[in-house]
């Protein structure tokens, strides 16, 4: 099932939490929803899951309007809300049984599904404990288990790895990748390596507005415009090196990264530039000690797009 969002707007008072967002998520795609706190990620997810209504715009899931078929469509959505609210006084097993029942899973399949979920999320030792007694990481697993218990075609996960330790995070990411092969997944986070590790596509919003949409790769290209090489050339007069580098026809711009150590950032037009730099050094008997492609980190892109 795919998700299509058209011109979604939600106001809280005079403030627009979500401002005219349009978005398509294809079946089997994992979309990372990125943005600083208060950007409107959670609000958008609440609208997709039909917890709150948008002021304007429409959501279509599998081609059907959420506004008209909410109760039917909700059966196909698994949702992990922000802060992972759970009935804390219930034991894990009872809670999962309740969730399974309310999703209308047939009686004879309820226990199988619960067993599967407990296995997938690694809750075996904790299954008879009350949810209130669990640590945050295990609660998070219960939250994931309840979201997946009815084997939904769409998973909406609001910060699925918050409160987990690095090992658990790796496990959950693997699980999401696995699930994402056949399901449509939207997950929100502000942990940037997480999106790179799990998502096919990144959707960055800020102050309710879309600021970037694409793979990590394309976003990088977009943010940089050109490829940048970091070059360090020892044994040469900095100014002369600078001039010669700028004279190369494949170089669009050069600036000093570190004058003292003869380090430069070379903005280049084509791959050919590496050979040219090498030849330049050989001709002038300079020593090339560093030639590395300079990757813009997702952090930088994110900061650039969301700070103004």
């Amino acid at each position: 099932m795919d998700i299509i969002i058209e011109n979604l707007t939600k106001k809280y008072g005079a403030q627009k939490a979500v401002d005219n967002i349009s978005l398509k998520v294809a079946t089997g795609e994992i979309l990372g929803f990125l943005g600083p706190n208060g950007a409107g990620k959670t609000t958008t997810m609440k609208i997709i899951t039909n917890f709150i209504a948008a002021d304007e715009g429409e959501v279509f899931i599998g081609g059907r309007s959420l506004r008209e078929d909410a109760n039917e469509l909700k059966k196909h959505i698994g949702y992990l809300p922000e802060n992972n609210p759970l009935y804390e006084e219930m034991p894990v097993m009872d809670y999962l049984e309740f969730c399974a029942m309310i999703h209308g899973i047939e009686k004879n399949r309820v226990n199988t599904r619960i067993a599967e979920m407990i296995k997938i999320t690694g809750l075996n030792k904790e299954k008879h404990k009350k949810i209130a007694e669990l640590s945050k990481g295990f609660k998070q697993r219960v939250g994931l288990a309840q979201a997946m218990i009815h084997d939904p075609e769409i998973l909406i996960l609001d910060e699925p790895t918050s409160g987990l330790d690095p090992n658990q995070i790796a496990e959950i990411r693997k699980l999401i990748r696995e699930l994402g092969k056949e399901k449509t997944v939207i997950l929100s986070t502000h942990i940037l390596p997480e999106v790179e590790a799990t998502c096919d596509r990144i959707f960055i919003i800020n102050k309710g507005k879309l600021v970037a949409d694409g793979t990590a790769e394309t976003l990088r290209k977009q943010a940089m415009g050109t490829d940048i090489l970091r070059v360090r050339i020892a044994a040469g007069d900095p100014n002369q090196v600078f001039k010669s580098l700028r004279a190369l026809d494949t170089v669009s711009m050069v600036d000093f990264a570190d004058r003292q150590f003869n380090r430069f950032n070379v903005h280049c037009k084509s791959e050919e530039v590496k050979r040219q730099i090498f030849r330049l050094c050989v001709d002038n008997k300079w020593v090339l000690t560093e030639l590395t492609p300079f990757e813009t980190k997702l952090e930088d892109i994110f900061r650039e797009l969301t700070m103004n």
Partner: protein, 241 residues
């Protein structure tokens, strides 16, 4: 229906797990038992084989206890955020409300059933009016259902249980005696209308053993309006405009 029952069952379990149910039943039986049998205008003072004094006491104890039962129903879920988890499952707002309401009614019915020994005891002592007593229980159940519906509404408008409790009591006070008091000083049609809004008036006529459709319509309307406004208040969050 099935979904409503699943919700009601979870709610009942939660009543009993959190000891609320036990505390309520014990307090209810304690209070009403004390004033029915031991103190005040108890059965021995009146000297009649009737449960009238019990009904009078229970009418007051239920007035205070029901808001205490209903206050957490929606307010707690709003506060902890579980309402979001619940309402994004394939359930309608109405099913959630009816499920919770049903659980409350069952708890009240259980509490009332525990007073059955009163009935048996008096039936042994003297010649009890069985029809009238059944009517009395029925009246108690109906006022409970009406206050539960008001309590559920109060719980739906806030995330704070104390506020929910006090709001339910505040609304309840009007039905419980303010309408009747106000109507004392009034004449004519308007006074009659205010008087007919009073729960006490309808409770007394019903618990006397008079099964009048007017009373049934009255209780039905209060219950319906309470649940209706609960749904309005709960559905506000995702109403398209």
């Amino acid at each position: 229906m099935n979904t409503i029952w699943i919700i009601a069952r979870r709610e009942l379990n939660s009543f009993f797990d959190s000891l609320i149910a036990f505390i309520m039943i014990i307090l209810f039986l304690g209070f009403s038992g004390f004033f029915t049998w031991i103190s005040g205008s108890d059965i021995f003072l009146i000297g009649q084989a009737s449960l009238r004094s019990f009904f009078g006491i229970a009418y007051w104890t239920l007035f205070f206890f029901i808001p205490a039962i209903t206050m957490r129903l929606l307010a707690e879920e709003k506060k902890s955020g579980t309402i979001e988890m619940l309402l994004t499952k394939p359930v309608t707002d109405r099913q959630v409300i009816l499920g919770k309401y049903l659980a409350t009614l069952i708890l009240i019915a259980v509490a009332l059933l525990f007073t059955l020994p009163y009935f048996i005891t008096i039936a042994k002592i003297g010649n009890i009016d069985a029809g009238g007593t059944i009517c009395g229980y029925f009246a108690l159940f109906l006022i409970s259902a009406a206050y539960a519906s008001i309590g559920l509404f109060a719980s739906s408008i806030t995330g704070n249980q104390i506020v929910a409790f006090l709001t339910a009591l505040f609304i309840g006070i009007f039905f419980h005696f303010l309408f009747q008091m106000i109507s004392f000083g009034m004449k004519g049609l308007f006074g009659q209308i205010i008087n007919s809004l009073s729960m006490t008036v309808h409770f007394e006529s019903l618990s006397r053993g008079v099964l009048d459709s007017k009373d049934l319509i009255y209780f039905g309307s209060v219950i319906f309006l309470g649940l209706f406004f609960t749904e309005v208040s709960l559905s506000k969050r995702n109403a398209y405009n």
